[in-house]
């Protein structure tokens, strides 16, 4: 199905997520790259050496959940915008997501937005915590959102409510 719709299945998504224990310890990258393509900026961007592609630039990146500090340097660097950061250390009920968002107008901290799944369908509400857009992100802003834990594996995008 993925090759027909571009929407990854739950099983595929689960393979990219670190353990819940790891998520609860603090921020960690989820690298949703499922296809072998010639690309390696995530590896180059990672200051912790936590993302490895190896000698063949076509390899699928592997993220070491123990080395990953969740710094998020890879998020704005991935040309496919396939990386997000999840952080379950803030609360028992919610998870914080950091996702790239290249659209205007940007949301504002405190705003409630509609959380979307991988098919762009509304699944939940989400609260915008922070919007980062420093020059080093090169016009790929990264938005931090607070989302109900129940949607850990569903939430992937958002849209502003008009």
């Amino acid at each position: 199905m993925f090759e027909k719709t571009g929407v990854a299945s739950r099983e595929m998504v689960m393979t990219k997520f670190p353990s819940v224990e790891r998520i609860n310890k603090g921020p960690v990258a989820v690298v949703e790259c499922y296809q072998k393509i010639p690309c390696n900026p995530c590896q180059t961007a990672c200051p912790a050496g936590a993302i490895q592609i190896g000698d063949d630039i076509n390899n699928i990146p592997e993220r070491d959940e123990n080395r990953c500090t969740g710094c998020g340097m890879c998020v704005a660097k991935c040309p496919g915008l396939s990386i997000m950061i999840v952080d379950g250390s803030k609360s028992a009920d919610t998870v914080e997501f950091r996702i790239p968002y290249e659209f205007l107008p940007l949301p504002e901290a405190g705003e409630t937005v509609t959380g979307l799944d991988r098919a762009g369908q509304p699944v939940c509400k989400a609260k915008v915590v922070r919007v980062m857009n420093p020059p080093s992100f090169d016009r790929t802003p990264v938005v931090t959102l607070e989302v109900d834990r129940a949607y850990l594996y569903d939430f992937r995008n958002f849209r502003r409510e008009v």
Binding site: Q35, P41, T44, I57, P79, F103, R118, A119, D138
Partner: protein, 360 residues
Amino acid sequence: MREVELLIIGSGPAGLCAAVSAASSGAKVLVLERSFRPGGQLIKQTHMFFGSESQYASHRGVDIAEILLKKIEEFGDRIEIMLNATAVGFYEDNVVTVLKDEKEYFKIKAQSVICATGAYEKSLAFPNNDLPGIYGAGAVQTLMNVYGIRPGNRVLMVGAGNIGVIVSYQLMQAGIEVVAVLDAAPRIGAYLVHASKLARMGVPILTSHTVKEAIGTDCLEAAVVCEVDDKFRPIPGTEKRYDVDVMCISVGLSPLNELLAMRGVEMKYVAQLSGYVPMRTENCETAIPGIFVAGDASGIEEASSAMAEGYLAGLCAAAKLGYEPADFEQRRQAYLKQLEDLRSGPVGDRIRAGMKISRL
């Protein structure tokens, strides 16, 4: 008649990299560009490129054009880019005829030539496909990303390859609704990360679908699409109508290399490379010594490969002219390795097969 050492036709990613590469070896280069600005199609690519650092991965295409043009400036008068200059003929004695500013016509005799003329967008046959409002996807990208003008309000994208999916995303960035992306193939041709970006924006990607007809009097008003079976035959009763004022056709590119055919280099139809392409050595040299090809003119690939080919062709063309740097072989191997890496994965299967067929 003007005489030049190395003539590069085209100032897209391949041509610019070839110019930088040849000039860094010491060659004097003239680059012909038919447009009023250099950079080819880089100037409308707002997305980050794939590949590795050697091909400026993670930089946006628009910025890569700036990086390359800045490099070219550093070479001073060793590289001249002539704008509004269309190469219209290429003859046995290596004379290239040029139409400048649509009025001046003159000849250039080159010791060596790199043809980096790029590609053009294919069209698709269906009733009323000539209605205004139906454009090449690349044309719409030019309109919105170069000139900052919206093509319309609601768009149907035909073709789910990289261009179709990337342009759809860019349309949404410009605030334009994309109702669907369709493709006759049973699978998405684009890198799936691009497709996923679009899917999570809520844009449906409809594989095994084609356009049945366009509807409109003066301009496009609607499109009727339908499903196709595994032999690409329309399935009756599956028609859907979309009210759209824009349809983008993104069904592939064809190499643009008539000049090489005119010059008489050996050409071959290679389906994997999307059309007639010149036969060439691993150094991008055609069957006529001193005449090179790089980028989409040699077969449709990604811009990252076009840049690596440009660097390789520039290096080798300059060497043939007597400008062989001490680290020639090292550099040559490095560019060959880049190309091998870019083509080595499963998405490079087709290209690798095409490369074998077109190898001299």
